[in-house]
């Protein structure tokens, strides 16, 4: 299989799972096996065929169809998209294992619909990752929004319905009002929407309009949860935990920041932004989001809500990296897509395991729980360290490069923001671990002191991703080398 064919195949491959799921809808074990096999083969295609080609400097391209003159549906894989594709397809496998444990352990209904929408969302994520132009990216961006709506509203309760309304309203509203506008503007100004190394806007759009265009892209990508368009993310936490884990810590939100990063590098070009200072305002918006969301997270007692605000804060790291418009900044942003994904998915997995194993959702109720669920809380500790950015976790590297990027741009305030955010994340994540391990078990708890974890399939995935965070610490250089191809 040539890498170019593999690119086209990878995007539609998850839809194969949809077929299998529908065929085996009445036999849950076969149904989930179908998803797992599709996931494994998808990862084999992405990591085994496309990755070597991209590492060798190739840009495998797959043209699908010209929808309107000059507006083409096409895929082309460059380093950043490669990385996002790897993350999405790799973590899909882990999450499927986890979903089996969680959905069955939690006795959720409509599991067939759940797995179908999940697979379509992954297809959307890969479409975004491999998009060769802004138009293709936009198409798959909307596909993700629509396919995850049934997941957010899975329970069908009034709360879920309202959350779904906000989810769709903000994500679709911003994308139609701003992102589509930016897309048409870009096309009108340059006659193309192709992602091109070095950007396409230099000499075409200048001055204040350039800043406005950047704003349209940044706020149009509602999935990046930049304040003030962040409210959908905490609302989406009403979804089953596997959805929060893979989609609202990895696929959906990363599709958002990935879009911003990709547009900054390949549509604007960091040289243009650095020369015109058009992105300086965005560093401030990102900095505000980082600090404000961390502060809100401090006050949340519901674990998933706290993690959601932590995600909002961490996403803006990547936006900040893009807005700094320096080599180290965008590379650090790209790296943070991976590092945060692995760290945050661990934390969500743990939150779900606690929910299934101990039926607890509030942090204040988790006193002494760590002694009953040592593996879960151990994984939570490692995941927290990665999000905070401490060795020996992968998260320390991305933070390092982001700091470097801020220094390169001469923006000392941003370095301070990053450091302050690290301290804040210690303050909102560590109490969970401390409560779990060191607080005494409440007297009215009659579960005893024995180990009582959630089902195996709920515990193994977070342990695996937590260990993955350590592995990434040692293999960060490979990611760095891959991303080098992104900046000319």
């Amino acid at each position: 299989m040539s890498p170019a064919t593999a690119v086209g195949l990878a995007v539609v491959w998850p839809l194969l799972a949809v077929v299998l799921i529908i065929v085996f809808r009445n036999r849950p074990n076969l149904r989930e096996t179908g998803t797992l096999l599709t996931g494994a083969s998808l990862f084999a295609i992405v990591a085994g065929v496309i990755l070597p080609s991209v590492q060798a400097g190739g840009r495998p391209r797959f043209d699908v169809w010209e929808v309107l003159p000059g507006l083409e549906l096409a895929f082309e894989v460059e380093p950043l998209g490669m990385l996002f594709g790897l993350v999405a397809s790799g973590l899909w496998i882990v999450t499927t294992f986890y979903s089996i444990g969680y959905m069955r352990g939690h006795h959720e209904k409509n599991q067939t619909r759940f797995y179908i929408c999940f697979a379509i969302a992954i297809s959307g994520a890969l479409g975004v990752a491999f998009a060769a132009n802004v138009f293709t990216l936009f198409v798959f961006y909307e596909l993700i929004t629509l396919s995850t709506y049934p997941l957010v509203t899975h329970s069908g309760t009034k709360e879920a319905r309202n959350a779904g309304r906000m989810y769709l309203g903000i994500l679709m509203g911003t994308s139609i009002a701003f992102l589509l506008f930016a897309l048409v503007w870009t096309w009108l100004a340059t006659g193309t929407t192709e992602f091109t190394p070095g950007g396409i806007l230099a000499g075409k759009v200048e001055g204040t309009p350039l800043m406005i265009l950047l704003a349209l892209y940044a706020f149009g990508t509602g999935k990046a949860a930049l304040m003030p368009f962040h409210k959908w993310l905490p609302a989406a936490m009403v979804a089953p935990t596997p959805v929060s884990a893979l989609l609202h810590a990895v696929a959906v939100v990363k599709a958002g920041v990935f879009t911003i990063l990709k547009v900054v590098v390949y549509v604007f070009g960091i040289d243009l932004l650095a020369a015109t200072d058009a992105s300086r305002w965005l560093t401030w918006v990102a900095a505000f989001t980082i600090v404000a969301a961390s502060c809100v997270a401090l006050g949340k007692d519901n674990l998933k809500a706290r993690l959601a605000y932590s995600t909002i804060s961490q996403l803006s790291y990547i936006v900040l990296g893009a807005a700094l418009a320096t080599t180290a900044g965008v590379m650090g942003g790209g790296m943070h897509i991976v590092m945060h994904a692995v760290g945050k998915i661990t934390l969500f997995f743990c939150a779900g395991a606690i929910m299934v194993g101990a039926h607890k959702t509030e942090i204040s109720e988790m006193d002494g729980l760590g002694r009953r669920m040592p593996f879960t809380f151990g994984a939570f500790l490692l995941g927290s360290l990665s999000v905070i950015g401490l060795p020996p976790m992968g998260g320390s590297w991305s933070k390092w490069f982001l700091m470097l990027g801020a220094a390169e741009a001469g923006q000392w305030v941003m370095m301070l923001v990053l450091m302050a955010s690290s301290l804040l994340s210690i303050a909102y994540l560590m109490p969970v671990v401390v409560r779990g391990f060191f607080r005494p078990v409440p007297v009215d708890d009659h579960h005893g002191n024995g180990i009582h974890e959630a089902p195996l399939l709920c515990v193994l995935p977070p342990v695996a991703t937590a260990l993955g965070g350590i592995v990434l610490f040692f293999y960060a250089e490979d990611i760095w080398l891959l991303l080098m191809g992104m900046v000319p």
Binding site: W65, V67, L68, L71, L73, F135, F138, V139, E142, L146, T153, G156, R161, G164, R165, L168, G169, M172, G173, I176, A177, L180, F181, V184, W185, W187, L188
Partner: protein, 499 residues
């Protein structure tokens, strides 16, 4: 192919009008409902093939001119088909034919059996009028065919099963007659000034004559008259009632054809007859039409959000969508006009599909109120899925036809340097999201009332045409050479001042 063309090819344009006129009388003679339906089907699908051949001919060989009775132009009546009306003709005939498939099952519950043959006769007469308006090259002929189609549509609307259908039909009759009168006045004044009724000839004379007070008044009369038939805000008041109380299939048919043909007439007069330098004072956007179009987009969508009857909601949505078309026309540049024209095609298939969905819902649930949609996602999954897809198209999600229209309209607005207009176009799409999702939420989440009857999926004879149209919204959202390709070529021709 060529041999066939030589045999009857020259008369194809005339057949487009003569055939439905003839078969309408045949329907009255045969009287048996299914036989009348068979006759109508034969005619309608023949018309689709005919229209396709005509479009292909125009695309490959240029404008077709057919002189009725051999009287030379400009004395005789000419049928003149260029890219613009060839596309509209294809839309009108296709919609006629596809809706007709669903008609027998749908009207079985709504109209007494002994009146069915008359229904088919009126349907075909309406088709005659619409096809005639579309392809005639004669100004007075436009009025004649307009009246044929209007009278037939009053009859069709009045067949709705509630007594409100009668009052709605009368309301439409009064408004429609007013509109027709204005159009006749306008044409009369133009005839007075130019001494000709042939549209091409009239355009040439007007170009020499320039603007004077009579021509201006004629323009105004035509604008108001066509505006009523087109239901341009604020002349749209007849439309919501007519659409709501007409039989379900009639709404599907009229929503996708009558207003589209009226829009065509407006484009024809503003770009071909008065030409771009008279209508638009050069290439400046036309402020009146632009303001009305934008007002329609917002008024229609906002009112749609508060409707309890989904059929009425879609009727108001039509008012908004007509606003998009008028806005496209008013921009007076190629991209904008392409957007307006391609939306004729796109809106026809999506709105017709959506109204057919409502016909299915009405058939099974006995109502199109929002409450009838409770639990529809489980009770009629195929019908409901069609509604969701059609709705996404109305919103303008990429890969649907709605996106193609929106793309050209936004492009047109930006090319004209009117970025606030572009913003408004996009903002009104979000309103569409609101009114569509209200229905989707009810269908998806709300449980059907306790003790409700078992409901089965709609019959195939209605599902198939519905899905043909809804499927087309996806197909033509990706494959755009027919819709956008022809529309942009037609726009180029009109902007260039061609016929």
């Amino acid at each position: 192919m060529d041999a066939l063309w030589n045999l009857i090819g020259d008369d194809l344009p005339a057949l487009q009008i003569a055939m439905p006129l003839l078969t309408a009388t045949v329907c009255v003679i045969v009287r048996r409902p299914m036989l009348a339906w068979a006759v109508a089907m034969f005619n309608a699908w023949g018309a689709v093939i005919n229209a396709s051949i005509l479009l292909y001919r125009v695309w490959t060989r240029g404008t077709i001119s057919y002189v009725e009775g051999g009287w030379p132009v400009p004395w005789g009546i000419e049928l003149r088909i260029d890219l613009l009306n060839a596309l509209v003709l294809l839309v009108v005939t296709s919609i006629c034919a596809i809706v007709l498939v669903a008609v027998p099952r749908s009207i079985a519950d709504e109209i007494p059996r002994e009146k069915h043959y008359l229904f088919y006769a009126a349907y075909l007469l309406c088709m005659t009028g619409l096809a005639g308006m579309t392809i005639t090259g004669d100004a007075f002929n436009i009025f004649v065919f307009l009246e044929i189609s209007s009278l037939a549509s009053y009859a069709l609307i009045s067949q709705g099963r509630t007594s409100r259908a009668l009052t709605s039909a009368i309301q439409y009759l009064i408004m429609g007659t007013l509109g027709g009168t204005f159009i006749l006045l306008g044409i009369g004044m133009l005839y007075m000034m130019t001494g000709t009724l042939n549209l091409v000839d009239m355009a040439d004379q007007l170009a020499l004559l320039g603007l004077n007070r009579t021509v201006l008044v004629a323009m105004a009369c035509l604008g108001v008259g066509i505006g009523i038939k087109l239901a341009v805000f604020p002349l749209h008041t007849w439309l919501p009632n007519a659409y709501t109380y007409a039989p379900a299939v009639v709404t599907a048919f009229l929503a996708a054809t009558a207003t589209k043909v009226a829009y065509y007439v407006l484009v024809r007069f503003s770009y071909s007859v008065f030409r771009i330098n008279l209508t638009f004072d050069g290439t400046h956007p036309n402020a009146i039409l632009m303001v009305l179009g934008i007002a329609a987009m917002f008024a229609g969508s906002l009112v749609a959000i508060y409707q309890d009857n989904v059929k009425r909601m879609l009727a108001y949505s039509s008012v908004a969508q007509i606003g998009y078309m008028v806005l496209g026309l008013s921009l007076a540049n190629e991209a904008g006009l392409t957007g307006g024209l391609v939306h004729v095609f796109n809106h026809a298939i999506m709105k017709c599909g959506l109204f057919l969905v409502l016909a299915c819902v009405l058939l099974r649930m006995g109502s199109t109120r929002l409450s009838a949609f409770a639990g529809l996602g489980r009770r009629m999954p195929l019908t409901f899925a069609a509604f969701v897809l059609g709705g996404l198209s109305l919103i303008g999600v990429p890969m649907t036809v709605g996106f193609v229209s929106k793309w050209y309209l936004v492009l047109g607005a930006l090319e004209a340097g009117l970025w606030p207009v572009a913003v408004l176009i996009l903002a009104s799409s979000i309103l569409a999201l609101v009114y569509i999702w209200r229905v989707v939420e009810v269908g998806y989440f709300q449980a059907p009332p306790e003790g409700a009857d078992e409901v089965t999926e709609a019959p195939l004879s209605m599902l198939v045409p519905t899905w043909i149209l809804i499927g087309s919204t996806l197909v033509f959202g990706v494959y755009t050479s027919l819709s956008a390709g022809v529309a942009s070529a037609a726009a180029k021709m009109l902007i260039g001042g061609g016929s």
